[in-house]
Symmetry: C2
Subunit: 309 residues, 2 copies
Amino acid sequence: MMTETSAEVLAERASFRAELLDSGLLVHGGADGLYQRSGEFEGVVRGVEALASRAAEGNGGARYYFPPIMAMTDFERTDYLRSFPDLIGAIEVFTGGDAEHAAMLFAAEEGRDWSESLSLADLALCSAACHPLYGRLTGELPAGGARYEVQGYCFRHEPSVDPVRMQSFRQHEFVYVGEPDAARDHRDRWLERGFELLASLGLDVQVEEANDPFFGRAGRLLAANQRATALKFEITCPVSSTQVRTAITSANCHESHFGESFDIRTADGAPAHSACIGFGLERIALALVRRYGTDVARWPLAVRDALQQ
Amino acid sequence: MMTETSAEVLAERASFRAELLDSGLLVHGGADGLYQRSGEFEGVVRGVEALASRAAEGNGGARYYFPPIMAMTDFERTDYLRSFPDLIGAIEVFTGGDAEHAAMLFAAEEGRDWSESLSLADLALCSAACHPLYGRLTGELPAGGARYEVQGYCFRHEPSVDPVRMQSFRQHEFVYVGEPDAARDHRDRWLERGFELLASLGLDVQVEEANDPFFGRAGRLLAANQRATALKFEITCPVSSTQVRTAITSANCHESHFGESFDIRTADGAPAHSACIGFGLERIALALVRRYGTDVARWPLAVRDALQQ
């Protein structure tokens, strides 16, 4: 089996990236994993979003679009700092006066590190689309729990030349917060629904057990435990490589993780369980480009119709 | 005349914000100036976007959607650090191992500043929607210059309880890069077009000369010069206050600022001039809410039609 880093896989990824940039669908953003989206690419992303929304058949729950940043107090409560410190993005701002400004500019002009003049803001880049939701739910949920459809730009500090691994990308999620059984049921039903949706676009999808990339030595144990308890599944598809599949959607049970961190309780006072499915909008768009080519106007009519192109 | 900070104006703003949060159109994001958008609010934003796109009548140029972050090398070349240091957002990331991670978590658990474990990334939050464009244009432009339609989330570190002053918001811009006369013409024609577009929605708009909020002592001179040379105009409207109007769109000549910083040249080798109009999508949506109320379903049919609601 080909591995992530075999020469053949790396070459396939570089070739797909070159194809994307040559076609103009994406434009290089000046840093690895940073891409500007053409209007045509954005149209596909919005088509995928609308398709996912329709799959909820009116039962997706309240819909929210989150800005790409969130309150640091909420971010700290997600425990992302413990589990994925290497992926986070904190935000620094300048709060000095004229003198500090002059010193900062002088450092910048000399090519020195000018960040000493900055201080940490009470804000962080969102790491997952559903993170900003939980801080709003502290308290008691209605009986039966609640459903939400949320979208936002996520940041992951993992610069890569693989075009599917963007540092800034969007997730479109369907989240349930409430009873343990209903949370697992939400995850399982959406996993099936997500699979059908992606297969209906002609994508060569598979469901696979998975784990998050927990950090460090302690992380290996967390990852093994996540697999042993079947908390995470991914829908994978060949995108930037024919050999190594890419997760384009993931469906997760969080158990009481967010319920406890954010003090979200069910009607009977227990910490709420939660679950979500996250459609990776850019990754799904890229899977479609890999499948049908860079000329969106020549994609099959059924696919174009499904994406309202 | 009422000033920005008179008690009456502050009370009006607090009242409009309460109305927005009570209606559920916006949800408090856990920090001042940070809001989660309901699906209904986002629908209005997208309607405004589509309306602006149509106003270009097919001549808006290549369309790009930018992620909320950009390469630091490009950010530094915008000169935003010199002119608006108080508004910027730099990004810090963690690049340590297990030991540094343990130290960072220990600091966080004790409520101490854990940002010492972080280091500056080669990325910054975008301050204006057109900033990521210029780095792509280094070199010689085609004869007659080029036009672009761009959108992106912008960050401005100016926490406020005034709902029109968001820390994270979107601009939808039409940019011209090329000859000096054509740049001014682009700005002037779009200013007129933008005014007509916003007036057609029934908004009580005015065109006003304006200046950017340049920082510090040196900034006062820059602001005065910007006004003296009529580089910046704003389309204003009553939004969060009946007394103090809010800029909902701005139209700017940059002269050769970006052309020189990014080494963008016209066909005859001169530094390119540039100009843009930026529609403040959230501010226009808020102006409509102020004008027609929080129940979007009951807005006048002509307005709903124009916004494809």
